[in-house]
């Protein structure tokens, strides 16, 4: 609260100065105009320019100061920083007032500022990506200083359990310490993703084929929003469904045919994740199938091909880049999916290909590392960033390939709405 008070006063004063700037500048401009001098811009534009001249530099200065404080750790007293900003605001106000004269292009000046502000907003998205990269890469590097990178990508044992002892300065006792071999995590991730894709690709693609090629308009009008509902269900809800309904069901079924299944089996989250991804695949595939020119279908039908042959041999191959792109996007979704696996998959790293056994994934371990009461720079916490880095790289690659495929499709058939 101590910081908040001077900050609030700063805002208040700045706002007051801004309002002052607006009205005095407008009055002055109106007067100049009334005296018969032709001006380049409207009084309101001069007024807004004065406001920008007052508030802009002041806000910039205070933001810069705050940033320097945070980034370089320089110790600038908050009070003097804000005071300096206010002084700057006053100077800006004075400058703004003197510029209220006939031969000054206030409108152009404002629009230049607006343009810069808009461009500034556009950089936020870049900064977000950079922020993700920096935060993840930075911490991941810290992690790799503690544990070898090679061990991380080839090790088959993930046992961070001992690391907190080391962090607590008792590492000597726990000989061998923690092991961070990520292979079982990635194996689990890809295995569950594979199950999801095995559900989502056929169901999604065939649904898209039905909607695009067979469905009467009325069915389509119902089916499209229905699939959108499927896409709008929060993942935490899917996770609950997987854990509380699907997993016990699978255990019962497995039991009835004499198989032993864990309640945290990989099948349940895999299937439910597949259901979640169906709409991603079906909706993009549907768009792509609709974009395949009708002349292609007619050409095939006119040769005496059945409708099924036309779809299988002409429409689907023509739409293939788009379908692959949709599947890759769905796959990247599945790899990064967190809640379903956190709630329904296991915690124990396990290298197996039995889908009825418990398995864990990268995202589960990230969450586990982040929710414990650990120091931020303990090896286990940092390992989450190393896992996140790999996840980032893999999904980025999938997304880029997907974008390239869809672009190729778009160029081929000159469709613009994909």
């Amino acid at each position: 609260m101590l910081i908040n008070n001077p900050f609030l006063i700063f805002c208040g004063v700045l706002m007051l100065l801004g309002v002052m700037a607006f009205f005095t500048a407008r009055k002055k401009a109106t007067q100049v105009r009334a005296s018969g001098t032709a001006m380049f811009s409207q009084p309101d534009q001069y007024a807004w320019f004065a406001v920008v001249a007052t508030a802009g530099p002041a806000i910039l200065l205070s933001a810069l100061g705050a940033f320097v404080m945070l980034l370089l750790g320089a110790d600038i007293p908050t009070f003097s920083l804000l005071l300096a900003s206010l002084v700057l605001a006053a100077i800006g106000l004075a400058v703004g007032m003197t510029l209220v004269r006939a031969n000054f292009h206030a409108r152009q000046a404002i629009e230049r500022v607006i343009r810069w502000v808009l461009a500034g907003a556009a950089t936020v998205s870049i900064l977000t990506t950079l922020g993700i990269l920096i935060s993840i890469v930075g911490q991941a590097l810290n992690f790799f200083q503690m544990h070898s990178f090679w061990e991380f990508i080839t090790g088959t044992t993930w046992a961070p359990g001992n690391s907190f002892l080391m962090a607590a300065g008792r590492g000597e006792g726990a000989s061998g310490g923690a092991e961070f071999g990520s292979v079982p995590l990635f194996a689990g991730t890809f295995f569950i993703t594979a199950i999801a894709m095995a559900v989502a690709v056929p169901v999604g693609l065939l649904s898209a084929i039905y909607m695009g090629e067979y469905a009467p308009r009325r069915v389509r009008a119902v089916a499209k929003p229905m699939l959108e509902v499927l896409a709008g269900i929060p993942t935490v809800v899917y996770g609950f469904f997987a854990a509380i309904t699907v997993a016990p069901f699978i255990v019962r079924v497995a039991d009835s045919i004499g198989l032993d299944a864990s309640f945290n089996n990989a099948l349940a989250p895999g299937i439910v994740m597949g259901i979640m991804i169906i709409p991603f695949i079906s909706s993009l595939s549907d768009d792509v199938i609709n974009a395949v020119p009708d002349s292609m279908r007619q050409g095939s039908l006119a040769l005496g091909m059945t409708k099924g042959e036309t779809i299988r041999d002409v429409v689907v191959p023509a739409a293939l880049p788009g379908i692959i792109s949709a599947s890759l996007l769905g796959m990247s979704r599945a790899l990064g999916e967190t809640m379903i696996v956190v709630m329904a998959a296991g915690m124990r790293p396990n290298l197996t290909i039995n889908p009825l056994e418990e398995m864990t994934t990268v995202t589960v371990r990230i969450v586990a590392a982040m929710t414990g009461d650990l120091e931020f720079d303990s090896a286990e916490t940092l390992s989450a960033f190393a896992l996140g880095l790999v996840l980032f790289v893999v999904t980025l690659a999938l997304n880029l390939v997907s974008v390239i495929m869809i672009r190729r499709f778009r160029e081929k058939y000159r469709v613009n709405n994909l």
């Binding site: 020119p293 002349s295 292609m296 279908r297 007619q298 050409g299 095939s300 039908l301 006119a302 040769l303 005496g304 091909m305 059945t306 042959e309 041999d313 002409v314 191959p317 023509a318 081929k412």
Partner: protein, 282 residues
């Protein structure tokens, strides 16, 4: 006008018993019936697009369908291999008879029909496959070939017949879309003849092509008529005069005049056809 409807002028009517038959004898052309059309009406929803079409189409001829745009010639053409089935709002009455069978009958398999009545479209539409596959695909599906050498032979023959072989024989594995527009259209013709149909429908096959490609395709039509019955829609009067043996003039969904090409162009029986042919409207 109704009484004129595509029937022969009265003075020669007695020589030609069947309704849709052209009036004058064309010695060079065959007179074996290929498709017989009687009282064909077609509606798009509530809008009548074809009314009372009566026409006999003859084997191993090129029949040109001409007329101003929107007169129903393409619609009529698509009735012959039931491509209009693809448009849900279409309803059809009347008879389209081929090989003694009603094409529109419920029992008629439209796939079997289209195997015998092939089609070439206005814009070339090769499949997104290799040149070879474009041609080989349909015969393979129709079980016309059983072994690879047979297939190669068929592809080569179809491409030769379409006059494309020399140009593509070294790049059969390249995508069909890599060819030029005229080549693509000939590829589509090769694709159609590889199925060995009886009839080939051509819906303004040269309208999207340059003059040189157009001339090549016209030559091709002339050569192909010894093997196939060709029915072509065209906007281009000269083309109809050049390539066809018979010409039917469509206007507002009706056949105004149907005759052998020489007669219809030199001595049209109706004022409308004359106006159209001499370029007074169209």
């Amino acid at each position: 006008m109704k009484s004129m409807n595509s029937q022969a002028p009265e003075k020669v009517d007695q020589q030609t018993p069947s309704v849709g038959q052209p009036c004058t004898h064309n010695d060079s052309a065959s007179h074996d019936l290929s498709i017989r059309v009687r009282d064909l009406n077609l509606w798009y929803g509530n809008e009548q697009a074809l009314s009372n079409i009566n026409i006999d189409l003859f084997q191993n001829n090129v029949t040109a369908l001409i007329g101003p745009s929107g007169c129903g010639k393409s619609t009529f053409l698509r009735c012959l291999n039931r491509m209009n089935d693809l448009i849900p709002s279409v309803s059809i009455t009347g008879l389209v008879e081929m090989d003694g069978r009603d094409v529109n009958a419920a029992k008629m398999d439209e796939v079997a029909l289209r195997k015998r009545v092939g089609m070439v479209f206005q814009k070339p539409n090769p499949f997104p496959k290799s040149i070879y596959e474009n041609v080989a695909y349909a015969p393979r599906m129709h079980d016309l070939v059983s072994r690879k050498p047979e297939e190669d032979e068929l592809v080569e023959k179809a491409l030769r017949d379409a006059g494309l072989w020399e140009e593509v024989k070294d790049k059969l594995q390249q995508p069909g879309t890599s060819l030029s527009g005229g080549q693509q259209q000939r590829l589509c013709i090769a694709r159609a003849i590889a199925v060995q149909p009886d009839v080939i429908l051509m819906d303004e096959p040269t309208s999207a092509l340059d003059p040189i490609s157009t001339a090549t395709i016209e030559d091709l039509m002339d050569r192909l008529k010894s093997q196939f019955t060709i029915i072509t829609v065209t906007h281009n009067m000269q083309q109809a005069a050049r390539v066809s043996d018979y010409t039917a003039f469509f206007h507002l969904g009706e056949i105004i005049e149907y005759n052998d090409t020489k007669s219809i162009f030199s001595n049209p029986a109706t004022q409308k056809a004359e106006d159209y042919i001499t370029g007074r409207y169209g």
